[in-house]
Point group: C2
Chain length 462, copies 2
């Protein structure tokens, strides 16, 4: 319970969203007015989950570098009390208290709150298949997962690995394992890796993976895992048996909302907690942010749950500003994502062509091949840019980029154009930066906009 | 005169604007309906003037690589007749004809037109100082200038060079000459190089220049040139004498409008030809585009003349679409520019803090230091981002970036935000691409927007 007149904020989950909220709340209200207590069931606060593949691949040597701030820093510099290895196991909205279990045997207790911040993150999808719990099968969700995989690589020195799932994490892990010298096979039920891209663009990513030696088994569903003495020996699909001493699961994540549901907080169709744009749940004084919530896709208008550190940080910041008495909103997302896989940069924003059709749009699409710099300038690298636009209005609906060094961050400009509802015709006039080391005189983004605008113009008015 | 019923388009100037217009007109109207004739006084068509410093510095070996398309290609593939070394010396709007001089002794003749495209480009500013016409003093405007400087470097092998003028071209040439092993001094009357940046950001560029060994003499005006036997020996300023066997003039350019003026076409306060957004001059059937026109600055609302290949290409395209019977507009510019100097990437868009004050705004400004990638990811390079916003409304007014590899192209996102009139508060929610090889979890652009938004919030309402 809050002590005397001092209000008490309890934060459930000490990663991006939770700690951003705590920090922002503290910036606006000092310790005399607001006590802040964070319960985190894991061993770390505020680390970069996106950095795990680089830790595994050896690009980053020291795991400590992935940690932005540790509990001591939060305590001393921000007057925020953090309890690691403390899991919140219940929320009683009536009593305004959470039940906390000390995972190191300290038992269970109730902790009161005036304001509650739910930042419980996501849980990895785990297939309910025979053998799925065997040793040697690893998810990639928390920093401890990354450390565990690294220990396996350094200790048992496996030769063969299978990655199940061809999303961002699966592909980044495949690359990391190739870098560590393993033979790597990747299995995905979809006909292409990275289904957040259209097939034509996904095929470019598949080529890049094959080029560095990853064996792709696409359109194949995993049916189980062969084990011996509790250890994985192979991954089985409908078509084959893939021997492996190490298996990485990259099957995506879903919002971790068991706690929120049991407390009666509303959860949407995506599985994420429902909040308003100020990150308030429907319960008074209860906020939620990060991978555990759903948000709005600003192009399709549909609710979406996208687990991404950058959204978690922004939503946490917004919740914290509001918690602290300020005013801020998180309006939604346009679905921007970027990754670097085997030297190929991949980025996307908005809707793919296929998604646009499913969302009820009549889209047109163009793909243009260009270079990242002026063709004559050293280091000019190939870049393919796909633009999807509404056929009649020319309104930008989405974009995808696959290219080499210097290609992918161009997606930001497209994401901002999308955010502002620009048409491809308007985009042809955009004043983008040009100099030979940075772009051809027509930036690839402008070339794509031009080609798309040409198609819009030729669309007959019926 | 147009032959029979076939219309005739005459294009004056065969570089970016002129050839873009010709190509677009041809795409929409074939040779049976529209004859296209281009007169270019120089030796080349459609080359990258921005590539000249790289040709001089040896980054690009073959000058042919700077030429996008030669006259033969235009003739054979586009049915566009190009006459090189043909200078248009007069326009008679009444007779609808231009007077053309064959610079290789072929005399002078009149050529009729139905439509006229004026794309006469810019002329470099040359100081009217004693000795300014001496051998060894070179402007950097056309490809021949670059070839001439390269011949000097390869033949006479000068040891010492002075660059007069610290704008983009001056700085890029200073770097090129350092790369060629010369001792280089740079003189500018302004207290900083690159006056298109605020002083705090310009100082970072000055540091980069000094680091590679360029001696800077800032706040010093050139008073003349010492010569011997018609060759330059030194540059004199109010404070000193700088010995040099090679002098580069980088004093900027102004619209080349002598021809347009003499024909009675309206020229604005900037010295550029006045057109509407479809690139029509006030004379029927007469169009203009490129470095010779003025356009609108979309932030200040003021007319500006900015000589940049990217604008020339876009304006030429718009003129050509309209010429060909289509509809397109060039709405204006936001003043985006980028350059790479001695390993430092520099970019700007919109108004600087100083320009914002001069334009009558009450601006606030923030500068944030961050990194181009996640701090723990190899190759994370420093980036400083400055954002200028209107103090009361929070509307973005401009931005500047100085950093290393991967920094500068972020200006595109800021230019698009500016184009759309976004406020810094809105920008804090932008869905920009995040992954460790590309950005910290808060992109530097978002950090700058956040800091600026904090200041807007704290602005008292009076």
């Amino acid at each position: 319970m809050g002590v005397g007149s001092r209000e008490r904020l309890v934060v459930v989950g000490g990663d991006a969203a939770g700690m951003s909220a705590a920090s922002q709340a503290r910036r606006r209200r000092d310790g005399g007015g607001l006590e802040i207590v964070v319960f985190e069931r894991g061993n770390f606060t505020s680390y970069s989950a996106c950095g795990i593949p680089y830790l595994v691949g050896g690009v980053v040597a020291d795991p400590g570098r992935l940690i932005a701030r540790d509990p001591d820093t939060f305590r001393s510099a921000f007057d925020i009390e953090v309890y690691l290895r403390h899991e919140v196991t219940g929320i009683d909205l009536g009593r305004r208290a959470v039940r906390v279990r000390d995972l190191d045997g300290g038992g269970q207790r109730w902790e009161g709150f005036d304001q509650l911040m739910v930042a419980t993150g996501a849980v990895p999808a785990r297939p309910s298949l025979p053998g799925a719990d065997a040793a040697g099968i690893h998810g990639v969700q928390v920093l401890d997962d990354g450390l565990a995989i690294r220990r396996v690589l350094d200790g048992q020195r496996p030769r063969r690995a299978v990655v199940v799932g061809g999303g961002y994490i699966g592909l980044e892990m495949a690359e990391a394992l190739v870098m560590r010298g393993l033979q790597v096979a990747l299995v995905d039920a979809a006909p292409q890796p990275m289904t957040t891209l259209d097939e034509d663009m996904g095929a470019l990513v598949a080529d890049a993976l094959r080029k560095v030696g990853v064996t792709l088994h696409l359109g194949e569903r995993v049916t189980g895992f062969d084990t011996a003495a509790g250890r994985v020996r192979a991954v089985t699909t409908a078509n084959r048996v893939l021997p492996a001493e190490l298996v990485i699961l990259g099957l995506g994540v879903r919002p971790n909302t068991a706690l929120a549901r049991s407390a009666g907080l509303a959860v949407g169709a995506t599985g994420g907690i429902i909040t308003d744009r100020r990150m308030r749940t429907e319960a008074a004084g209860v906020w939620a942010a990060g991978d555990c919530v759903q948000t709005r896709h600003l192009v399709s208008g549909a609710p979406v749950a996208i687990a991404l550190g950058t959204h978690a940080n922004k939503q946490g910041r917004v919740a914290g500003i509001n918690l602290g008495g300020g005013y801020a909103t998180f309006p939604g997302v346009v679905g921007t994502a970027v990754s670097k896989i085997c030297g190929v940069e991949v980025a996307r924003t908005g809707l793919t062509e296929a998604q646009a059709v499913r969302a009820g749009f009549d889209p047109l699409a163009v793909v243009v091949a260009s270079t990242t710099r002026a063709g004559y300038y050293p280091g000019a690298a190939p870049i393919k840019t796909k633009i999807v636009a509404e056929r009649r209005s020319g309104r930008l609906l989405g974009a995808q980029i696959v290219g080499e060094e210097g290609a992918a961050k161009r997606i930001d400009g497209l994401a901002i154009a999308l955010w502002n509802g620009m048409t491809v015709e308007e985009m042809t006039g955009l004043d983008l930066a040009y100099a030979p080391p940075f772009s051809p005189v027509w930036d690839p983004v402008l070339i794509a906009a031009r080609k798309a605008a040409d198609l819009v113009e030729r669309t007959p008015c019926r």
